[in-house]
């Protein structure tokens, strides 16, 4: 232990834990205490060693493993606002059931309509909009910036446990601008970024069984279109007019 009982106060001052009055009293003491002066020098020496690069943030691959384990352990949560994976899983189950019934086309369409109206899981839709809004903050939109799908697609290799389809829609006036990793519905997902004029379109992609036709929703002034095809779930979100966003979705679905 230190030889002067004020030494810990010298340290507290270094750590910004002293009020102005205490600091003034300490300064008067220090002026005539060689022990405290020596302690101050030693503390400054130790402090100088503690540089920022000693901080050890979680490595990217470990972060992914942790998030994956958390997603697997995520309990189903009650209530519509917080319902995410649980209700979504049930909702997906409904779809595969309805598809396997083999109903006639007209009947299926009617049933689909009945299912569709309440079908968009509310928690997830909010997450999609929140993810989009978060990405619009400066510096968050894309991890890989490129108009070339041959650059964007390989970027996801090793960052996700699936390979998201990346399509070039420049000819349809929806140029690709890049992509990023996002975290939605309890799992890491791909986010592809497209543009129409000044409007940003986020297209979130992750694996899912079944094919569902596009459904449209609106939250907080953002339009959202959701569909599934080719083993993937797609959620497009933008502040574009709904007709234009539906045009984007149609172009995406028809593009090779």
């Amino acid at each position: 232990m230190p030889d002067c009982d004020k030494v810990l106060l010298v340290q507290a001052e270094l750590d910004g834990e002293l009020g102005a009055a205490e600091a003034a009293a300490l300064a008067a003491h220090r002026a005539q205490c060689p022990i405290c002066e020596a302690a101050a020098a030693e503390l400054a020496q130790a402090r100088a060693l503690m540089r920022d690069d000693l901080y050890q943030p979680v490595p990217e691959d470990m972060r992914r493993r942790v998030l994956t384990a958390l997603a697997a352990a995520q309990p189903p949560r009650p209530g519509p606002p917080a319902a995410t994976s649980g209700s979504f899983g049930r909702w997906r189950g409904w779809w595969s059931n309805s598809a396997s019934f083999g109903l006639g086309a007209a009947c299926a369409a009617a049933l689909a309509f009945l299912l569709l109206v309440p079908a968009m899981p509310p928690g997830l839709t909010e997450q999609i909009v929140a993810g989009h809004v978060r990405a619009l903050q400066p510096g968050h939109l894309q991890d890989v910036a490129s108009e070339d799908r041959h650059t964007v697609k390989p970027w996801f290799d090793g960052r996700l446990d699936f390979a998201p389809p990346v399509k070039d829609l420049a000819a349809a006036h929806f140029p690709l601008t890049g992509g990023r990793l996002d975290y939605l519905n309890g799992r890491p997902v791909a986010a592809l970024v497209y543009q129409r004029d000044k409007h940003v379109i986020d297209l979130f992609v992750w694996p899912a069984a079944g094919d569902t036709p596009p459904q449209t929703a609106e939250r907080q002034g953002y339009n959202i279109v959701h569909w599934s095809q080719g083993g993937m779930n797609f959620w497009a979100v933008s502040d574009l007019e709904v007709a234009q966003l539906e045009e984007f979705v149609a172009d995406w679905r028809n593009a090779p």
Binding site: D15, R51, D53, V58
Partner: protein, 179 residues
């Protein structure tokens, strides 16, 4: 609907502190693999306990869970905590951290990396109760009160541990320079 955006979910409240959780786990455990085990276990515990979390300091709450998990893991693997990380270059992530950053010439960057590894070894050689106090103060920048909460120690103990940690570190640096 618009007012039901989830701002109180585990993702929004706890996940932003994943780096802090890893930093503490990494400094408490002797290698990257056991730090990952502790991190995984602590995050799963946090997910389980999250519904009952009512506090205002999610980072301190998470760090407390990480610390408890790490200590439980060390008492299962008795003796592990007594072995300091003597050689940082065993680390699988070391090759990456040794890559030069773009704003340094290779020589400067190599010197910086060596200096960082030298300090890392000196901190790793500190007794665990001093090391955790130092890391929580200097790297996580917690206040004395927050450190006292995370480590469940009186503030006076936090202050004297911090003082001993810093003095040992300064002494080690002087010895290192003399050698």
């Amino acid at each position: 609907m618009a007012d039901s955006l989830p701002s109180d979910t585990f993702e929004a409240v706890v996940l932003p502190h994943l780096d802090a959780a890893h930093n503490l786990a990494r400094w408490l455990m002797r290698d990257a693999a056991s730090a990952e085990d502790v991190l995984q276990e602590a995050m799963l515990r946090a997910l389980t306990y999250f519904p009952s979390f009512k506090g205002v300091n999610p980072r301190g709450w998470l760090l407390q869970i990480v610390r408890n998990t790490a200590y439980a893991s060390m008492s299962l693997n008795r003796g592990v905590e007594l072995v300091p990380m003597t050689n940082a270059s065993d680390e699988p992530d070391d090759a990456v951290s040794r890559l030069p950053s773009s704003d340094d010439d290779p020589e400067t960057s190599l010197i910086k990396t060596r200096e960082r590894d030298r300090v890392r070894r000196m901190i790793a050689a500190l007794p665990i109760e001093l090391r955790e106090t130092l890391v929580l103060r200097e790297l996580e920048e917690l206040s004395y009160k927050e450190i006292a909460e995370v480590t469940r120690m009186p503030i006076g103990t936090v202050m004297s541990r911090l003082w001993r940690a810093r003095r040992l570190l300064a002494q080690a640096a002087r010895r290192d320079e003399a050698a």
